[in-house]
């Protein structure tokens, strides 16, 4: 597991000078200088994609808090929270994992009264709405697991309370990625993944809980079955879904499956695969390699996911205060703008908007053609002027969510059937 290596924020000479300046500054003002003199370190557990060096540097400069990233895989985030709850100070977790994590009691509810922007978090999370309209809530939709009954409760509350499980960091709507130059015709439905036209050229992701949902989107779109809840299938539905996958696999539909971001980029960029489940940054990566790739909006809608900050029950004192400071900072705009510019969505939209150029906001969030060249946070060119974002505006994309990443009641059975699919 090479990705469990620790990344520690390096303190440069300039940081030290800045820190020293801050100390002198506050000392002159008569504020307690020891806070700056002894910076609090927060161990930030999460996946590497969400852990940007820029964010850590900015927090250091703005708040004097040192962020020490602990990058692991999504699965290892849950494993750590359950088995080593004292090994981190703040965790970046996906909402669907909460159904496993909250009953363990290792995460506590966050006090909404200490979160400055709590009431301005987008209603996607609090009510499951985009622009006043309800979005699909199949699977573990964030609104189902957003509130706890009490601070240390292990039960979710259906109605808003003061105790929030996770403060959202990033979320997005996932769909299929395609190679328009190799397919040469419009794609408009999930069913195309199993179209015989793409025999030996399609792929699905080999992460059971997510792969099965993509498969369910395909099965429903083929008209084979209408699910009550794609994120919580019955055993019979799991059988039916995996059977459809096994039949396709046996007929040679799939070129390969992928498990991590880079594998999906390689499959697509090399032309081994022309249509596959994909994540948004992977599409951007393929495009930045000069290979045409579209994150194709489909008529059945998107499979959405969301992640957020959770706090371990062991946190107290100065570290707890620092964690709240960090979260408040995160929602205050700079980080949101940074994430929006990568194609993710941020939790509090208006603070992020204030930190973005109007043309950036129009491209990323309003689905308008880019007035100027669109650049990534590191300055590399992402899109030329005139391009429109795949899927359009925030409302068009998040409003068309059909289901959310989930943990099923029949999780054990699903994992077992998925293993059978891989072995078939």
């Amino acid at each position: 597991m090479a990705d469990t290596k620790r990344k520690t924020t390096v303190v440069t000479r300039r940081d030290v000078l800045k820190g020293a300046a801050a100390v002198t500054g506050t000392a002159i003002l008569g504020a307690p200088a020891f806070i700056s003199a002894q910076p609090v370190t927060l161990r930030y557990l999460g996946t590497a994609v969400n852990q940007s060096k820029e964010i850590a540097q900015k927090v250091k400069a703005d708040l004097g808090i040192v962020i020490e990233y602990v990058p692991v895989t999504t699965d290892d985030v849950s494993k750590r929270i359950i088995t080593q709850p004292a090994s981190f100070d703040i965790a970046d977790v996906e909402y669907f994992q909460l159904r496993k994590l909250i009953p363990s009691g290792n995460l506590i509810g966050m006090d909404a009264s200490r979160i400055k922007y709590a009431d301005r978090i987008t209603p996607v999370f609090t009510r499951g709405e985009v622009a006043g309209k309800k979005v699909g809530d199949q699977g573990t939709a964030p609104k189902k697991v957003f509130y706890l009954e009490g601070k240390s409760s292990t039960k979710f509350s259906a109605t808003p309370t003061q105790w929030i499980t996770l403060i959202p960091t990033v979320y997005n709507a996932d769909t299929l990625g395609i190679r328009p130059d190799l397919i040469k015709r419009p794609i408009g439905s999930w069913s195309e993944l199993l179209n015989a036209e793409f025999k030996g050229k399609s792929s699905i992701l080999n992460i059971p809980s997510i792969g099965i949902m993509d498969a369910a989107m395909v099965v429903e779109s083929l008209g084979l079955h209408k699910y009550q809840d794609k994120g919580n299938m019955t055993k019979a539905e799991i059988d039916l879904t995996t059977k459809a996958l096994i039949d396709a696999k046996k007929s040679g539909q799939f070129r390969a499956f992928w498990k991590d971001f880079n594998e999906s980029v390689n499959l697509m960029a090399s032309g081994e695969v022309v249509i596959q489940s994909m994540w948004s940054p992977a599409v951007t990566k393929v495009r930045s390699m000069g290979v045409p790739c579209i994150y194709q909006p489909l008529k059945e809608g998107y499979r959405a996911w969301a992640a957020g900050f959770g706090l371990p029950k062991t946190l107290s004192g100065k570290k707890l205060d620092a964690a709240y400071d960090f979260i408040n900072w995160f929602l205050s705009g700079w980080a949101g703008a940074f994430l929006n510019r990568q194609g993710y969505y941020s939790a509090v939209l208006d603070t992020a908007k204030a930190q973005m150029e109007p043309y950036e906001w129009a491209y990323w969030m309003e689905g308008k053609p880019a007035e100027k060249d669109i650049k990534a946070p590191d300055g590399t060119l992402l899109e030329k002027a005139g391009t429109v974002r795949d899927g359009g505006s925030f409302e068009a994309r998040m409003g068309a969510v059909a289901c959310w990443n989930a943990v099923m009641d029949e999780n054990d059975y699903m994992v077992r059937k998925w293993n059978e699919f891989i072995a078939a």
Binding site: I82, L101, K259, G271, E272
Partner: protein, 327 residues
């Protein structure tokens, strides 16, 4: 190191204790114990103790824990001590009911076994040939060493990079397909070259042949050259000398190399995953998926079954040759 030194000084102490007159010995029980601990007979135990402790702590203990946990109960977020066989039932569920079609576990083991046999046969053939060439045809020690280093070149980069580098070579738009098409050998790109049983076996051979070469070369370099001359003098042809003299005397190397290759292939899931395009099952992958879904007891049960399978294979191989006797 400290322990080793103590071990040595204990032996010194033991020697002096034996040499001294018996009068000092007939004292308290503590004295008897001390004598036992410092006697010459105890010395080997002291010497073995450091390794034994490391072994017990880092190997035996985890193994015991694994076996114990495989009988526990679990749910999504916790595991509870128990003594139930549910996990084993789950590992083999459907294996009898679904006959004659194979259940997940049998199918996976069969596929793993197939890779074992293929990888073993090919690495043995290649490894033996290379080792033979190095041991008998390269006369100078410097040249042997240089060629040995050449053999290790594939290990200069990481395992994952080595595997990923096959993609631009064997892929649909890769070098091999490019060559085949321009040479007019095929019209369509050949897709069986990558993400197939072929590519998995290819990667295994590439990765593990070295593990065959080293022990076989080691055995071969101990063969007395006079034996080969004697075989020649007795009228044996080159092949007869090879089959009747070199192969039997290289057996320990062959068995050790085979144990390396077979155990590595049995437990592998990274190579099968990457080269098989995640489409081919392996026991390691099943265990990994179960671990990532926090099904620790189930994963432990699978690991115990895998361990038993590997031990059986090794037992069978060591029955063919008594490695300890031959060394």
């Amino acid at each position: 190191m400290e322990r080793v030194h103590r071990g040595l000084s204990d032996r010194e102490a033991g020697r002096t204790a034996v040499l001294e007159p018996a009068s000092a010995l007939a004292t308290a029980r503590a004295g008897v114990w001390r004598r036992r601990l410092t006697s010459r007979a105890a010395a080997p135990y002291w010497q073995a103790a450091p390794l034994a402790l490391v072994f017990a702590f880092f190997f035996v203990l985890p193994l015991v824990v694994m076996v114990v946990v495989s009988f526990w109960r679990y749910n999504e977020y916790s595991i509870t001590p128990a003594l139930v066989g549910d996990n084993y039932v789950s590992v083999f569920s459907g294996c009898v009911a679904e006959l004659p079609s194979l259940c997940l576990t049998f199918k996976t083991y069969l596929s793993t076994l197939k890779f074992c046999v293929l990888a073993w046969a090919l690495t043995l053939l290649l490894g033996f040939t290379v080792a033979y060439f190095l041991a008998f045809h390269v006369r100078s020690l410097t040249a042997q060493m240089a060629l040995f280093l050449v053999c290790t070149i594939p290990f200069w980069t990481s395992n994952v990079i080595r595997m990923i580098s096959w993609v631009p070579l064997l892929g649909r738009n890769g070098l091999v397909n490019g060559f085949l098409i321009t040479a007019g050998l095929t019209r369509e790109p050949q897709t069986w070259l990558l993400f197939s049983d072929f590519s998995v076996v290819l990667a295994f051979v590439h990765l593990y042949t070295m593990f065959m070469i080293v022990p076989i070369f080691n055995s071969m370099s101990r063969i007395d050259r006079a034996l080969l001359e004697a075989a020649r003098d007795a009228g044996a042809s080159g092949w007869q000398a090879l089959w009747n003299v070199v192969v039997p005397l290289s057996k320990p190397g062959i068995v050790i190399g085979s144990i390396f290759v077979v155990t590595m292939v049995m437990g592998d899931y990274v190579t099968i995953g990457v080269m098989g395009g995640q489409q081919i099952a392996s026991i390691g992958k099943v265990i990994q998926v179960q671990l990532s879904y926090l099904q620790f007891p189930l994963a432990a049960a699978n690991a115990v079954v895998l361990l038993a399978a590997v031990l059986m294979v090794i037992a069978a191989m060591t029955r063919l040759v008594d490695v300890r006797k031959e060394l």
